[in-house]
């Protein structure tokens, strides 16, 4: 059974992003797309995550990225997904002081131990989302 799609407005997308903590960031590195899961937190409408030196996520500093979060139920086949397109930029002491202060106070918690000195912030350009709904409840449920 095929569901219906509802487009989500930006405000709803940001609200949904704030309810989760694992997303997937896609970058293009020398023409090759790369997608990895990261844990993240939100700074208003911006996505913030930590990364280590020398990762492929280096391609994510000062470049266009796509960031995706979803919550899809395989039983009901309902759920939502949100995609942020924007410019990823490492937060450094040379950034605007209000951003540095805010991001430091957020301190996106690295779940794993190890040195993750780089904090990357995605300034959103577009934020889009979709929700898939079943047209009718399944009669067997």
């Amino acid at each position: 059974m095929i569901g219906t799609i509802v487009l989500l407005d930006r405000e709803e997308c940001i609200r949904l992003l704030a309810t989760h903590c694992v997303g997937r960031i896609a970058v293009v590195d020398h023409g090759r797309p790369h997608v990895v899961p990261v844990n993240y937190t939100m700074d208003g409408d911006a996505v913030v995550f930590r990364t280590a030196v020398g990762t492929k996520l280096d391609a994510a500093s000062r470049s266009a990225v796509a960031f995706e979060v979803d919550d899809l139920d395989r039983e009901t086949r309902e759920g939502w997904s949100v995609v942020v397109h924007g410019l990823a930029q490492e937060v450094t002491p040379y950034d605007r002081p209000d951003i540095v202060r805010r991001v430091r106070s957020l301190d996106p918690v690295p779940w794993a131990t190890g040195d993750k000195p780089h904090v990357v912030r995605i300034a959103p350009h577009t934020v889009t989302g979709r929700r898939v709904r079943r047209p009718d409840p399944d009669p067997d449920r």
Partner: protein
């Protein structure tokens, strides 16, 4: 600060285990590059077929904008409360599937739309990680 060794936290999965995990799931995220080199990522329901992944999509989606055919596909199952789970990455080339490649393949679309286009991602590289207690983060290779 002495970092805890990642070996204690992250177990690299064998290729056959990656394929077995891929077969247990139905939704992943496909990342491609547009012609102008921008990344696009979309959740897709999928089915494993041979050494590849098959998707259905509409003609009009952004995936039509696939630049060089390179693609990266990610599937994960993470419990954020316990900090456990796994992720698998499939990298390769995505192209419109031929009818013989689709023989015996069934894939229901979750979302509406004509879904006229059948895509297949031929795997060049399949890697995966299982994470233990204490959390997860991309390692130096950039994934869990």
């Amino acid at each position: 600060m002495t970092p805890v060794t990642r070996e204690a936290l992250l177990e690299e999965l064998a290729v056959d285990e990656c394929w077995a995990l891929l077969a247990t799931h139905m939704v992943g995220r496909l990342a491609v590059a547009t012609l102008d080199g921008c990344p696009v990522v979309v959740p897709m329901n999928y089915v494993v077929s041979g050494n590849g992944i098959v998707f259905r999509t509409d003609d009009g989606t952004k995936l039509r904008a696939i630049g060089n055919g390179r693609a990266s596909f990610e599937v994960d199952a993470v419990d954020p409360h316990r900090g456990t789970g796994w992720s698998v990455l499939v990298r390769g080339d995505v192209y419109e599937a031929t009818s013989w490649e689709l023989a015996g393949v069934t894939l229901d679309a979750w979302a509406p739309g004509p879904k006229r286009l059948w895509l297949r991602l031929a795997a060049r590289e399949v890697t995966g990680r299982r994470l233990d207690v204490a959390g997860f983060e991309p390692d130096e290779r950039g994934y869990l």
